[in-house]
Structures are given as structure tokens and as C-alpha cells.
Point group: C2
Chain length 654, copies 2
């Protein structure tokens, strides 16, 4: 999501439902309020419970009891500690409130209503077709930074936002993350505890809603608040234990969090799931369903209220501007030379850092291998080390783009699998992140299968609105490294460990969705489609076959998603036969991307797919490609085979 | 890997290289040894360093310095504490040694040589084509339980093996896991610390090789052993800090670990990376490469030695037998009724638990949703709760199958993405695990995209030797739940949240690789291929079209990998046109599996793919399928469209 790209009011609002009260009116209403602050906060907590119960009841589904445990925590936060301009979600001084326990969305939406951001009518369209008030929050609402609902992601993402505040934006906004107790079992939470603790992110506060009950029963530690305190403190955090329903204790805890200057703070709050309604309070079996008798619950909670929260405005910053960029002076390589595409990426992202001040690079302690190290040499202030914690690395990338930074997160292609759920959720967050996976395929050689990215194309293609790029030479890798910054969404660049010949001139252009024809003649009888290392195998095969008068077209499909359908269709029309060759498993890779082009069309070429089918061991890169049947010899045999087919009778059923 | 399935000597050994010395000879050699134990252990540590240096030197790659830091730790373990019969790797009493820092493979192989399991010739074929001594260890070697090399996996897997020892096998074997310090940044390590700490797995010992240096520089905590101690103790572990090069301290630490009866032990060892060779000792930039002057290093280490370790044999247990099973009495459902496939899975796996005593079920705190809860009701002793820690859940499944148990690990299909790297590595481990993902696709309805498995088919298909099953009714789900236990490798069952009509009789058979034809006539002009929820949409469309005299064949492709190629080819021959419809992203799912059948063949049908293309929000299941264009109306329109095509002129390039 680009800064400033969000409307001031939520999108997708159903026709007829109003935008809620304007801000002035809210302030006015609050001045009329005569209750003491303590009374008012308690009443507000009850209102949030009432509205959470009503929303889930209207929807016929949802998590009211998970909302009720944290209602007082959120009421005090929004009333007295949060700084946020609901009329200007992209205000650079806004605090960030991340609902890591995303299933408690009724609480968040009830809070938005109390803040005047949405109307009661909008609240009651919760979970309905077309409503942006989804079962779990997404940035379809302008006040939601990131999608949550896959537990254990809010805190690592919040750490990324807090990192931006402390090290890049240099603004005093705070990041507040509401976590459930069940999700503290996720390792990603401890990656975040370790990262934020060591980075000393004092602008980050985790509010731990310890309500004792998970989805199917008691949590591991129940109400043993000390169990959580010991763990969190061991990771260098400041902790405060509170009764999560005592507004004075909660208020004091938030003050202590704001006063703490050296460390992030965890507020460990003892709460009651379903608090306020005797039928469900601290009861098992009440998770994730509306209350059986909502009307009775609302009356037990004291009935409906219409208190409004006058959220404090940020006292610094302004409307965020996208940092401007100058022309990128990319590295260039001479045709005929040799270079690894991972090196070209490293040099290119370093050059991008010169031209674009919004470029940041994230590492999983392999920057020397991915070549992200070239960026750290030139821009140490915009390079962030997450050590071997890929989930925190990707989460931080998502957090940084929330603040308008353009992140490149790089590790081995194989190890992106460690953070796959974070990439999946980044797409739901409409996040704009750039991923780089080095050491693709069997071509890495001796290190063996644990280090080989062989499923990465399939996994990254199956991410909504993603782009998958796999250049075969240094100049194309450099161009695409810069180009992916222009794509909104999840972009993935797959790079090679070994050197490959430079086949493109420095001035050649490379577009997302494009391809290049490297061999072509009027007499081509077969088209070989390749990407990355296999492009060079295809070229060798084509040149050998040309010597025998067999014309073979070679297409470098460096953009695997979107793939260059028009060019592939034209090649199919002209040559009639296609061989695909990739350094990847046969499922979901380049070959399937090419076959997909010919789904939903009238004419389909004869095709043959070459990919890695057996589990590799250790061997040289050349031996690996030969063993896998994706080298020049295998391409040559495939071309001969597909040409031979038409002279044979069709086998039954084939 | 089934118990007893391993040869007594390593596989894939290159011709001419011997099996190493027989056991009796080793014992004999040791009796001749006149050094004191202390001298001998120090010499042994130097020998392991020498052989690690030689192996990496011969290979021209590898990680000798990472091996050298842990050489003394391993020398003392193997000599005086490990209980293992190298002649009988599947002996039920064997300890388990897991090299979590898999890049230190030269150390492991040097240890195998010292134990007489491999010869020096075999050691020097390290990383060569055909050698089972791969860059990172895999079970191609019979003494290796699981593949390592993706860091942070050894400890969670070891916790699974230790769980088997403590709760299922009830045998006194111990699990020893050697971890690097860099990998302690992985959240999965802390999932394991939490799990093993709370489970009180006293039979598990983590040896933390704190050598201060990672791949690209100093680790986060360097030699601050207390930083590790505080964290590990907070998670309930017993800890011992030692000088990792003092054999007496190391020996005492192992004794304390064996004496500790209540908690797992972490031995936190201060070590020097590259210890013993001044050119690389504690030097940055020496990671992951052979030593520049191996000969000089070997002489500095005191030259070659040929000490042998007389590893103590297990004092209990015997050759492991696969527990026998009786006939499975699966639940059955009446045709015409309705049931959710997730419920059928739950009932079926519970029935499987009655028939097969090796069946175990693992949960990520969603057993009420996945319906694994039916198993816990009947077999609480073989049900294991991992709370919301999917990586630990899958790792434990891998650990349990090491011991011959047959695990079913179940969570939401979407959340398997959290453990994708563990599934990837399970395939490299040749592990035999069963995964179950519930809440597939947009059909879950209101909860929204964070909870929808929409990439799971693509991700699981792209796992080596995997099986992907997606039944549409309760009887087929029950049969396939039992059937997947028979497949060696990673098997995946995708289940539905909502009820679907029962369309198959209780006696119908379902095979991995099979399919069912649900509608068929001599006049069929189009074949619709569906799976799961979309089968019922396809049937509704076919029945509507049949009313208009348009014959539509409907195939239930419940086995998506392997897909039923013969039946699809026959349908293509007979109907000429195929429409695929799936509740999944368009990339890497059912549609691509079907298109792949027609790659590499001579005749290809006209095809049209229906899948989820837009990012869903909240809505009812029916609204979701309609919005996504995968409901009966969309199938009907697709059939009409593909039939209309042939009456239109082919568009240019299409």
C-alpha cells in the first residue's frame, strides 16, 4: 500500500450506509460527557462488548468472546493513549494499532464505531457480502495496516513498523499490537521478541490478552502470567502485569510503556474470555460463535450506549509523501562475459538505493550469498539484519511497506518456504514487497537438496497478484531488480548461484510480463521455452540442432508470472511444438505456466515438459543438470522426440 | 522410513569402497589403545577435525570450520555417552543423534568413520556424484534419521523423537541434537523449547555449539552464553554451560543431562569456530569453504590418526517390528445424506486408530475444527497437542515416523503454509507423514481469505513424491483417510468445512491415483473435471445442461496428485473438450494437474480452467463460489462457451 494511496473513508462501503460522524461532532459530544473518566472508560468497555456481541449476532458468526476479554484494554488505549487521525489514515504521525488476534475483529470494528469512523449500520453489515468489515481485518478498511487472522503475525509485522519509526521515519509514533495468548505458541512471536528486544524498539508495545482459553480449551500456560513474563523478559523486554479489566491498572501500564525509553514493553493482562456475560464468561466451548441469547447478553452488559472516543491527534508529522527518486544508474555487463544473476541483483539493488531513498534491504544472515551485501556496503543505514529468522524478515518487510518504504527481502529461494504463510498473508494485506531467492534449483551443485529452491516458483506463483521473475543473465537481472519496485504487490526475483554468460546488451529492456526470443528462423519447427540456467542449455541444444538443419526457436521466459502469452501463442502458431525446460519440480513451475497459456484457447501445440523429477544428491552443477535431464543433451533429445512423434501412429488414449 | 527398512550398511556406496571395519575389529583395536581416556578424547577430537578438513578439501567445498568447533563435543558424546548399534540402525534401543547444524556434515561423517561405519575412501568421496555423503546429511545414510540443512529443524524433530521414546515406545533411548548458535534465531527452535520444556522430555539433550560466528559475521549474542541460558531456562529447560573444548567439562555435562529426570537439558558450549587451526580459528570469512592450506592445517592438528570409537550398544530393545494392524472398520454414510469431509476424516482416523496401533494424531489447537477431536476421544494416549505451533507439529510428525509411528497432522489448509519448509524437508528426509488441511477454499464462507486454503494444492503438489487428495463426499474421505497411511512419503488430504451430499456408496473403492465418473453418456460433448466442493457444482451444471440435451461428463478427480491420466485422456478422446473447476487459485492446482496430462502427448483437448482469481472477502459459501466464478452457473456458462468457440473463427494468435 503506497502512502497516501488510501481514501480518507473506508472503501467498499455498502450503498446507503453513512461515513459516521465527522470529527468535530465527536469532540462536541465528548465535551457534553459528564461521567468521571473512570466511569466513562468502564462504560466504554461495556459498549465495545455490546457492539461486538451485536455485530456477531447480526452476522450469525464471529468471535465475540475473544473480543470481550480485550474490550477494556482497547477502550483505555483509544481513549487516553492512542494518537491517530481517523480522517487522515496516512498521516505520518499516526500511531499504528495492529490486531494480531484478528479473529477479535468485532472489538476492532466496535472501536472504529466509537471513534466515529464507521456507523452502526456499517457495523451490523459485519461479514456480509461486499462489506469491508471482514471476518478478519484487512486493509480494505483504511485504518487497517495489515491483514491478520493467521496468528502470530501481528507482532513481527508490528516490529517492522516500529523499526521504521525508530530508524527510518524518525517520528515519535508508537506501535500497539494486541496479541492473544494462544498465538504466543507461534515461533514467529519469539522471532519478534528476540528482534525487537535486541533492537530496543521502545516505541513498540505488545498487549498480551491472557484470557486463559484457546479455541479448543485451556491454553498451555492458562493464567500463569509469570510464565509469560519470564519468557518475554528473557528476550530483553520491559514487562508489566495487570488486571485486564481494571481501567486504572491498564492506564498506568500504558503510561509505563510510553515512559520506557530503552526497551519494548509487553503488557501482560489477566483477562476473562467473554467477560461481562455470565453465560459465556470463562467458559469452554464458547469460542468463535455468536452468543446464544444476544439480547439477554446486551442487557446484562447494561444495554446499548453511544459513547464516542475523541482520539488524540498526532502531534507531529503530516500527510506522508512518497520519497522522490532519481534515474537509476544500473550496473551493466558486457555481452560475452560471465556473471551470476545474484551478483547482478546485489549491484542493482545497491544502485537502486542511490536513486531511490525509499529502498531498504532485509537479510536473513545470508547477505554474502544472496549478494545483498553490496547494498549494505553502500547504504548501511537502510540495511537490516534479521539473522536466520525468515518469518521476522518477511514480516518486517510488510511492516516497512506499511510506512511507504520499498523493501527487498533476500534469502535462499529454498528458505523463503520458511516464511510462506507470511507471503500468503502479505497478499491479503495488499502489501507491496519484493522478495529475492538465490541458489535456485539443482544448479547450485554440491550443497544438496536442502539448499535447492525447487518448489519456489510453484509456491510464489500461487500467491494472489504476485509476479515471478527468473532472469538468465546479469543485465536482465539488473533491469528486473529495478523493475520489480514498480509493481504493486508481492514480486519475486529468482537468482542463480553460478555464473552464466551475458547474452543481452546493457540497453536491452525487460518488462514484467515480457520475454525474449534468443534464436529464431523462418524454418523453426520447435520452440524451446526456458528460464534462468536452462536458457543456456536450450541455446546450446538449438545451436547443435541448427547444425543439422533443425530450426529451433528459443524463448527466454524471464517473466514466469505473468508469462508472455502473446509471444508463446505466436511461437506455437509458427512452430507447432513446444518444449519447456526448467530447474524446478514439474509441478507449478515454468512448464505449467506455459501450458496454462493454451488452456482456454482453440489451438494447442504439442508440448513436452522437462523438469527435475528425481531427488537430487550432491554433484557438480553440470552433473546435476545432466542427472535431472534438464541439460542441453536432454533438450536436444526432447526436440528430436517431439519431431519423431508425428511420424508414429498415435497411441491409444494418448 | 519404515522401521527395519534400512540396510545395515549405507546405500549408494560407490563400487570398490569398503563397508568399513566390522565391529569386533573395532573393539579389538580399542583394547590395544593405551592412552588415558582424557588424552584419547582430545586426540579423537583432533582426528575428527583432521578428517573434516580432509573431506572438505577433497570435495573442494563444505564447512570444515563449523565442524571443528563441535569436534570435541561429538568425540566425547560418541565415546562415552551415545548408545548405538551401527550394525543395526533400526535397533529399537538405539539413541538418536541429529545434526541440526547439517552443514557440519564433515564432522558427522568423520565421526561415522571413527565408529567404523564408513571407510576413509568413502569419506573422501564426500559431495561427489553418487556418494550418499551429501553436502548436508540425508537418510540415504542408514544412520541418519532425518535430513538437515534447513536450520532450526533438528531440535523440533528431535523433540518428536523424544516424545515417541517417552510416551509411545517407552524405551530409555536418548535423543541428542547438535545445534549451531545461528540457528537459534529461528522461531521453530523456540517452539521446540516450549514444547519439550512443558512436556518434560528429559530424554532430549540439545548441544548448543556457541562458536560466535555465523555465515556472514558475528551472531546476535556472540559468546554471551548467559543470553542463551536465560532464554532456554525461561522455557523450562535444565541448562549446563561448558567450555566446548574441555573434554572433562563436556563429559560432566553429558552425565548431568543423563541424570536429569524431569526436564530436557541444553548444554551451552563456548566453542571456537575453526578450533585447532590458527589460520581460521575464530576468524570471519572462513565459513563454508575448504581451508586454503589443508595439508598445513592437518599437520597443525597433529596429522592423521586412525582412532576408533567403540560405541556402547543399547542395553534394551531389539530389532523394531512394525506393529500389526487389523481390518479397519471405517464409518459409512448413506447416499443422499449430507456430511462434511472433515467430519468423515475425523471419524475415519479414529477408526484407523482402533485397527492400527501405530496411528498417532497431531493437532495445532484446532482439533475441534479439523475434527481430529474424534480421535482424541477414542485414543487420548496417541493424540498430541502442539497448540498453535504448526512447525513443531509437522516436525514432531517427522520425528514420530522416524520411530515407525504413522502420524496424521491436521490443521487448516491455509496454516500448513506456516510449516511449508518442514514439509519440503520431510520429502528430503524420505519421511512418511500424513497431512490433513481443513477449511479449503472460498467455500468456508464468512471467515475471509486469511482462513482459506487457496494455495495449498500448488504448494503440496510441489513436494517431491507427494500425494494430494481432495474428496467431495464423506465415504470417499473416509476411504482416502485410511488409504493415505499406505503411501510412503508426504500424503495430503484436503477437507471441507461445510457439509456436502454423500454421492458414493459405502462399499465404493478409492485409490490414490484414481478418479470417478459421476455423469456419462455416449453423447457427452464436454468433460468437467472437479474436486471437493466443485464436484457438486459440476453435477448441478451437468444436470441442468442434460435437460437441454447437452451431454456433459463429470469426473471427480479426488486424487489430484497423482491425477488419473488414463481416464482424463479417454474423456478427452471421447468428448474433445475439458472444463476444470476448482476452489483454489488458478496456479498449480487441479486445472494445471489436468493440463499437465496433455503435455507430452499428441492430442490435446480444448480446455477451459475455472478457479478463484479475485481476492475474496466475507460472504456465505454460496455467495463466495458465485463471486469466484466456480459455482454451477459458472460451469454451465463455461460449457456453453467452449461449445460456442468452434462455431467462431479462431482469433489471431489464439
Amino acid at each position: 500500500m503506497r502512502p497516501g494511496s488510501r481514501p480518507r473513508r473506508m472503501r467498499g462501503t455498502s450503498a446507503g450506509s453513512g461515513p459516521g460522524l465527522p470529527f468535530a461532532a465527536l469532540c462536541h459530544m465528548r465535551r457534553k460527557n459528564t461521567m468521571t473518566d473512570r466511569q466513562r472508560l468502564k462504560e466504554l468497555g461495556q459498549q465495545l462488548r455490546v457492539d461486538a456481541v451485536r455485530a456477531a449476532d447480526a452476522a450469525g458468526s464471529g468471535h465475540p468472546t475473544s473480543s470481550m476479554s480485550a474490550a477494556d484494554l482497547m477502550a483505555v488505549l483509544a481513549s487516553d493513549h492512542l494518537r491517530y487521525d481517523f480522517d487522515e489514515p496516512s498521516h505520518s504521525g499516526n500511531d499504528h494499532l495492529i490486531l494480531s488476534k484478528g479473529h477479535a475483529s468485532p472489538l476492532l470494528y466496535a472501536l472504529y464505531k466509537a471513534c466515529g469512523a464507521i456507523s452502526d449500520e456499517e457495523l451490523l453489515r459485519y461479514r456480509k457480502l461486499g462489506s469491508p468489515l471482514e471476518g478478519h481485518p484487512t486493509p480494505r478498511l483504511p485504518w487497517v495496516d495489515v491483514a491478520t487472522g493467521s496468528l502470530g503475525q501481528g507482532l513481527p509485522i508490528g516490529a517492522g513498523v516500529a523499526l521504521a519509526g525508530a530508524s527510518l521515519d524518525r517520528l515519535p509514533y508508537r506501535v500497539w499490537v494486541l496479541c492473544g495468548d494462544s498465538e504466543l505458541a507461534e515461533g514467529s512471536v519469539w522471532e519478534a521478541m528476540e528482534y525487537a528486544g535486541q533492537a530496543g524498539l521502545a516505541n513498540l508495545t505488545a498487549v498480551l490478552d491472557i484470557n486463559r482459553l484457546g479455541q479448543r480449551g485451556p491454553t498451555r500456560h492458562g493464567w500463569d502470567l509469570d510464565a509469560y513474563r519470564r519468557r518475554v523478559e528473557a528476550f530483553g523486554w520491559h514487562t508489566v502485569e495487570v488486571d485486564g479489566h481494571d481501567v486504572d491498572e491498564i492506564d498506568a501500564a500504558y503510561r509505563r510503556a510510553r515512559e520506557e525509553a530503552e526497551r519494548p514493553t509487553a503488557i501482560i493482562a489477566r483477562t476473562v474470555k467473554g467477560a461481562g456475560v455470565s453465560a459465556v464468561a470463562d467458559q469452554e466451548g464458547a469460542h468463535g460463535k455468536p452468543l446464544a441469547d444476544a439480547e439477554r447478553a446486551v442487557s446484562e452488559l447494561g444495554g446499548r450506549r453511544d459513547l464516542r472516543i475523541d482520539v488524540a491527534l498526532p502531534d507531529s508529522g503530516g500527510v506522508r509523501q512518497r520519497p522522490g527518486g532519481s534515474r537509476v544508474d544500473l550496473p551493466t555487463y558486457a555481452v560475452g562475459g560471465e556473471e551470476a544473476t545474484r551478483d547482478a541483483f546485489g549491484r542493482a539493488v545497491a544502485a537502486l538505493g542511490d536513486a531511490r531513498p525509499d529502498t531498504v534491504v532485509l537479510d536473513g544472515e545470508v547477505a554474502d550469498s544472496t549478494r545483498a551485501k553490496f547494498f549494505v556496503d553502500q547504504h548501511p543505514d537502510r540495511f537490516f539484519e534479521f539473522y536466520i529468522a525468515e518469518q521476522q524478515m518477511i514480516a518486517a518487510a510488510v511492516g516497512l511497506q506499511v510506512r511507504g518504504w520499498t523493501p527487498y527481502a533476500a534469502t535462499f529461494a529454498a528458505f523463503l518456504a520458511r516464511a510462506y504463510d507470511f507471503v500468503r498473508m502479505a497478499a491479503v494485506s495488499r502489501a507491496d514487497i519484493n522478495l529475492v531467492g538465490s541458489h535456485a534449483g539443482v544448479s547450485i551443485g554440491e550443497d544438496g537438496p536442502s539448499q535447492m529452491g525447487l518448489e519456489d516458483i510453484a509456491a510464489l506463483r500461487a500467491v494472489h497478484n504476485s509476479v515471478v521473475l527468473h532472469p538468465c543473465d546479469a543485465n536482465s537481472a539488473a533491469r528486473l531488480t529495478a523493475g520489480m519496485a514498480e509493481h504493486d504487490g508481492v514480486s519475486y526475483l529468482r537468482t542463480l548461484r553460478g555464473k552464466t554468460p551475458v547474452v543481452y546488451g546493457p540497453d536491452e529492456g525487460f518488462e514484467i510480463g515480457g520475454s525474449k526470443v534468443l534464436r529464431s528462423s523462418a524454418s523453426d519447427r520447435v520452440t524451446v521455452v526456458a528460464a534462468g540456467a536452462t536458457v543456456h542449455e536450450a541455446l546450446a541444444a538449438a545451436d547443435a540442432l541448427a547444425g543439422e538443419g533443425i530450426g529451433v526457436r528459443v524463448i527466454d521466459a524471464y517473466s514466469i508470472k505473468p508469462v508472455d502469452a502473446p509471444r508463446l501463442r505466436a511461437a506455437a502458431e509458427e512452430t507447432g511444438r513446444i518444449v519447456t525446460v526448467e530447474d524446478h519440480w514439474p509441478e507449478g513451475g515454468l512448464g505449467d505456466a506455459v501450458l496454462d497459456v493454451f488452456a482456454d484457447t482453440r489451438s494447442t501445440p504439442r508440448t513436452m515438459k522437462l523438469a527435475v523429477t528425481g531427488m537430487p544428491g550432491s554433484a557438480t552443477p553440470e552433473e546435476q543438470r545432466r542427472e535431472a535431464g534438464i541439460d542441453a543433451g536432454a533438450v536436444e533429445a526432447a526436440v528430436r522426440g517431439i519431431l519423431r512423434q508425428e511420424h508414429e501412429p498415435a497411441a491409444a488414449g494418448s
